[in-house]
């Protein structure tokens, strides 16, 4: 053992760290050598991804939409995609390499992940050139449209938290409370009459 206090564990080898440490940061730290073009990515996407995510990343059924939705973040029903919402391209590369295709993760080469990332940029109109090649060298020059729109947690400044006031106990409303919405109208709870194809889920 080599641990400082208890002498437990052993030193990780360089190969072991390389095998598991595959994370990529927005500044490009962790990017492997390699490259891939939009065209290569298109072919791969149709083979490996389109059955769930649609030919143009529009999503099949309830599977995630990957492209489009730009300018919808203040809509009643925003469409949050790589192009409309994600702040960093590094996350696209990292996540595909880490967890996709769903059910066959870690099956793509680094060049293939570059190519798929390039194709996703093309589908999201971040690059317009079908000949575009994404590589370790030019990766960090790409900025996604929504990068500036994330803020750190400021919930404590919301009025109901900032006040920390002793709450009202008596006659807190001028008039009796009225019911304004009922779950049974929607009837989407399992075991109720019709729980199929209900409203958009919050979890995926």
């Amino acid at each position: 053992g080599v641990g400082l206090a208890y002498g437990l564990g052993r030193r990780a080898t360089e190969d072991e760290v390389a095998a598991w440490d595959i994370d990529v940061r927005p500044d490009g730290m962790g990017l492997p050598d390699g490259s891939g073009t939009v065209g290569e990515g298109d072919m791969l996407f149709q083979e490996q991804c389109a059955s769930c995510h649609g030919v143009f990343g529009e999503g099949a059924g309830r599977w995630p939409v990957l492209a489009g939705g730009q300018g919808t973040l203040t809509d009643e029903r925003p469409e949050k995609t790589i192009g409309s919402f994600w702040p960093y391209l590094s996350t696209v590369f990292d996540y595909i390499r880490r967890a996709m295709p769903f059910g066959n993760a870690h099956s793509l080469t680094d060049d293939e992940v570059y190519a798929l990332t390039a194709y996703l940029l093309y589908m999201n109109d971040v690059v317009a050139d079908e000949e575009f090649e994404l590589s370790k060298e030019n990766f960090s020059e790409i900025e996604l449209p929504n990068a500036a729109n994330f803020i750190d947690d400021d919930r404590d400044s919301e009025p109901h938290y900032a006040a920390k006031a002793d709450p009202c106990m008596r006659d807190c409303k001028d008039t009796p409370a009225e019911i304004v919405m009922r779950a049974r109208i929607l009837d989407v709870t399992p075991g109720s009459v019709d729980d199929d194809g209900a409203g958009a889920g919050a979890v995926d």
Partner: protein
């Protein structure tokens, strides 16, 4: 076994219900008496199972309805989905291991602990690999904490949708973890001065990753291998999971295989695309880690109708806060116009579920039941209107607004919103 007697008992209960609120005092059974007493029951006459019939015991067959449930339309695949703890049927503050809600992103990894490794790398003096055997030789702690999914109650942002506390509030559980403080393990590797963040990573096919600031990592995070006294369940990360007290469940990485120390956050998929909270102006909050003060009445509730008619009624519920202990819970019977203080019973532990009760004499009329928790930092659980006024309806996560149940004269309840 015992089915006939079950029917007799149900008939008796039905008769009692039909009698309604006429009798508020204990009443004698009419006629010759209660067959449950007068007749010798099977379990009183015949032998039951011997000691080794149930080497690992399971609940009574009469509790078969107390199970985790899912909502199929929520997700595209059950392997990246969620189910819900039956909190409406439970009491106290500890969730039984087999009922703790599940949230996976690539299904349940089934890992032989002999093949499991924990790697520490990055900005450390020496990258290390631990076996499970190694980890179990380090000094350990026992702590009770709630784990709440960031998306708990998320389907209710636009209003009442799912009819039951299990579905509206059941992405939460609370168990006692046994594990090693993360600071001990990081100390073995030696954190460099430039190390400001850690990345926790799971071994399942989603290879789940989240960035955690070093202050939290060395404060109260645990690398846990036991829950409620036994090994973690596979669906809860067997053989190893991260415990991140008070913070959103996504960060409690299961099947934990790696901790990397870095100088900046990684902005992984689960902290950019997911677990960021969209605001009405189109901006999104990130790193919304703490689960705020929250409560819910678990009974009566839509899945727990009142079957006994008017008279004494136990209103039971749960309260919790990622900031620490719950100091007070108020309950309203009239949709938030008037409040009375509930009674917290059982252990009051920081960042753990708290059980509260309000014992009332129900007059059989409509109730608009609400609960409102206050934590030791002085934060008061807000109404849904207060939350929506600031956040709109598209935050998805962190909905800790006050829940209303409409209790009707027939004893049934419904998930409603009130003005």
């Amino acid at each position: 076994m015992g089915k006939g007697n079950g029917i007799d008992r149900r008939r008796l209960l039905t008769a009692g219900l039909a009698a309604g609120g006429a009798a508020l005092a204990p009443r004698a059974v009419a006629g010759e008496g209660d067959p449950a007493i007068l007749e010798v029951q099977d379990w009183t006459r015949y032998l039951g199972d011997g000691v080794q019939a149930r080497p690992y015991g399971v609940p009574s067959e009469f509790e078969a309805h107390v199970v985790r449930r899912d909502v199929e339309w929520l997700t595209a695949a059950t392997e990246s989905s969620v189910n819900f703890t039956p909190i409406h049927e439970l009491d106290g503050i500890i969730t039984p291991n087999g009922l703790c809600f599940e949230r996976h992103h690539a299904g349940i990894a089934e890992i032989d602990p002999a093949d499991h490794r924990l790697m520490i790398n990055g900005l450390v003096d020496q990258p290390l690999v631990f076996t499970m055997e190694d980890l179990k030789r380090l000094p350990r702690e026992n702590r009770v904490y709630f784990l709440e999914c960031a998306a708990n109650s998320g389907m209710e942002w636009r209003g009442s949708q799912l009819n039951g506390a299990q579905y509206t509030h059941g992405m939460v559980h609370c168990v006692m973890y046994t594990g090693v403080p993360l600071r001990t393990i990081l100390g073995e590797a030696g954190i460099k001065a430039s190390g400001k963040w850690v990345l926790a990573e799971g071994a399942d096919a989603s290879v789940m990753t989240r960035s955690i600031p070093i202050e939290k990592a060395v404060d109260d995070c645990l690398v846990a291998f036991m829950m409620n006294g036994e090994a973690l369940r596979p669906e809860q990360g067997y053989p190893l999971r991260l415990v991140v007290p008070g913070w959103e469940g996504n960060m409690w990485v299961k099947w934990l295989r790696r901790i990397e120390v870095g100088d900046l956050p990684w902005h992984q998929r689960e902290e950019t695309s997911k677990y960021t909270d969209l605001l009405p102006n189109g901006k999104a909050r990130r790193f919304t880690w703490v689960m705020d003060v929250k409560s819910v009445i678990t009974s009566p509730s839509p899945q727990m109708p009142i079957s006994h008619g008017p008279g004494p009624l136990v209103i039971s519920g749960l309260a919790w806060s990622g900031n620490g202990r719950i100091t007070r819970v108020d309950v309203s019977l009239d949709g938030g116009r008037n409040w009375r203080r509930a009674r917290i019973d059982g252990p009051s532990l920081p960042k753990a579920l708290h059980r509260f009760y309000l014992d009332i004499d129900w007059d059989g009329r409509d109730l608009l039941l609400q609960s409102r928790a206050i934590d030791e930092d002085g934060f008061v659980q807000p109404s849904k209107e207060e939350l929506r006024a600031v956040r709109g309806e598209n935050s998805i996560y962190h909905n800790n607004g006050i829940q209303t149940w409409h209790v009707k004269p027939d004893g049934s309840s419904e998930n409603v919103e009130v003005s």
